[in-house]
């Protein structure tokens, strides 16, 4: 466990300490209002950044691997097996192992997040590319599209629904797993949750508000992807 540093107040960021806060009631809006800008908002932004960076890098790697195995079928099984193994490593363990190598750095946090999202994205991209009907491919080749044109103008657009479906799962699970990343230090919405949990009497308002933001962030990303799909996939 990482020490949060310094002696903890009984209730974190006590502020003026309304009756609700000192009594540790189920949920205190006054605390949320007072600590939105110094606690919740910065961690929410960090959380979002972590998620976007991890999924973006994971997507880039998964995309490259999927294109490679789309062209050389023999690569698919080895890649799928390795990816499956990565996915079985519990995130807590992954963070601990990486601390030994890269310390309490961003790398330690990002590598597992990237790994999980790429494991989710890879099979979805491959499945999307394979879902293109053979007749469509034959028509494309028969009309004189080059291989690259077939990929970019036909196969990838048609794989888009599967790719976006994969991104939705990857983003939502990365948001969830990134909560655990707070073990590696002050990163994301997991951090206020851990602090509040480690108090002698866990401070409910902080746990619930940060938790609710995790859920809201996941939903927001998901909605964004649904809207993207709707804008890009007009043919079904």
């Amino acid at each position: 466990m990482i020490a949060a540093g310094g002696p903890e107040p009984v209730i974190p960021n006590f502020g003026h300490g309304s009756a609700c806060v000192t009594g540790n009631h189920l949920f205190c809006w006054s605390w949320v209002r007072e600590h939105w800008s110094d606690t919740l908002e910065p961690h929410l932004v960090q959380h979002a950044e972590l998620t976007v960076i991890a999924v973006a890098i994971g997507f880039a790697i998964a995309f490259a691997l999927a294109l490679a195995s789309h062209r050389v079928r023999a690569l698919d099984q080895p890649i799928a097996i390795v990816a499956g193994l990565i996915y079985t490593i519990p995130s807590l363990v992954a963070f601990q192992i990486l601390i030994a190598f890269s310390g309490l750095s961003n790398t330690t946090v990002l590598v597992p997040l990237i790994g999980y999202s790429l494991v989710i994205l890879y099979p979805n991209i491959v499945a999307g590319l394979r879902s293109v009907p053979p007749g469509v491919l034959e028509a494309a080749r028969g009309m004189g599209l080059e291989r690259r044109q077939v990929l970019w103008r036909v196969e990838l657009p048609l794989a888009l629904p599967a790719i976006i479906a994969g991104l939705r799962i990857a983003v939502v699970s990365t948001v969830a797993i990134a909560t655990v990343a707070s073990l590696v230090g002050d990163r994301g919405l997991g951090y206020p949750i851990f602090l509040a949990m480690r108090l002698p009497t866990p401070f409910k308002t902080e746990i619930y508000s940060a938790g609710a933001l995790v859920v809201a962030l996941a939903l927001a990303f998901d909605l964004l992807l649904v809207a993207t799909r709707r804008a890009l996939v007009r043919w079904t």
Partner: protein, 319 residues
């Protein structure tokens, strides 16, 4: 660009890896420019293989294929294909593109200006019997028959001198299928292109082809001639069986009463009547049904044109 091209298969042989028997055995076929040539035969006859050799979707092992005297191997495959229309079963339309975008595929590859592409798409939609507004629809919103019309328009987009059609109507219901068969025949008269059309349906072959090439298993050409000649003089037992024992009737179906000599009108009024646009086969059928030995042929205006005696059908079959 010439409106039609001559295609020559010169002793073309194709073997698939791991299979002993050739898919196509020294196929030699001369298809004059503007001919509607149907490749027909049972499965395993290599007809689709033969078709795909022409646009090099499948490479051949021996021999040569020439379009207007030039070997198809002289051009890069991609360039060759852009100059050949290609229609496949179930159309193979790009589902993520509108009808208009589908049709513009090859013109776009060829770098046509937007205005020219639009104008051409409009022309083609009218040619294949679709509405101008259909250009904005997606393939999923069309019926099977409409999709195949779009497939045809897409293949004709850059006005290629040669059209390859691989069982294009195989997945359509019989009514739509027949309508499209007739329309493609009409289109062929309008746009004069060389067409190579693959089917396993002998009726379709006889209806569509100026010439039909019958391929038997192992990719051997059994007979290559006009439908009338194939029906009149099948080259061997295989062809005779393939075209069916009713080949005399099929032959009579190729002739309409417009191009058959008729007897002058007699005195009898009670003869069964048949339109002069109808086929000799239909006239014979009517005679068999009514027991009459002749029918009265009438024109569009209802006026009698003459009489067709049953013997005339027999005479026609002897010619």
């Amino acid at each position: 660009m010439p409106s039609a091209a001559e295609i020559v298969f010169d002793r073309v042989t194709k073997r698939y890896a791991g299979r002993e028997a050739a898919a196509l055995q020294e196929l030699t076929l001369e298809i004059p420019a503007g001919t509607f040539c149907v490749l027909v035969g049972p499965s395993g006859g290599g007809k689709t293989t033969a078709l795909k050799l022409v646009n090099r979707l499948i490479p051949f092992d021996e021999g040569d294929i020439r379009i207007d005297g030039r070997s198809i191997t002289e051009l890069p495959a991609v360039e060759l294909r852009r100059g050949i229309g290609y229609v496949i079963q179930q159309a193979g339309l790009f589902p993520h593109m509108t009808v208009g975008e589908n049709i513009e595929t090859v013109p776009r590859l060829l770098g046509w200006e937007r205005e020219r592409r639009r104008a051409r798409t409009g022309e083609l939609l009218a040619l294949v019997g679709l509405e101008a507004t259909d250009a904005k629809r997606y393939p999923a919103q069309l019926s099977g028959g409409q999709r195949q019309r779009v497939g045809l328009a897409r293949a004709l987009a850059a006005d290629p001198p040669l059209l390859l059609m691989d069982e294009p109507f195989g997945a359509l219901d019989p009514i739509t299928r027949h309508r499209l068969q007739l329309e493609v025949r009409r289109l062929h008269r309008e746009v004069t292109k060389t067409v190579i059309f693959v089917t396993h349906d002998v009726d379709e072959a006889i209806l569509m082809g100026d010439r039909i090439a019958i391929l038997r298993e192992g990719g051997v050409l059994a007979q290559y001639d006009t439908p009338d000649a194939v029906l009149a003089r099948p080259a061997d037992d295989f062809v005779a069986r393939f075209i069916g024992e009713d080949r005399a009737l099929r032959r009579l179906a190729l002739r309409t009463l417009l191009d058959v000599p008729l007897d002058p009108l007699g005195r009898r009024d009670e003869l069964p009547q048949v339109s002069d646009h109808s086929t000799v086969r239909n006239a014979v059928s009517l005679m068999l049904e009514t027991g009459a030995d002749r029918v009265l042929v009438v024109g569009d205006d209802g006026g009698a044109r003459g009489e067709l005696p049953l013997e005339r059908a027999t005479e026609l079959l002897r010619s």
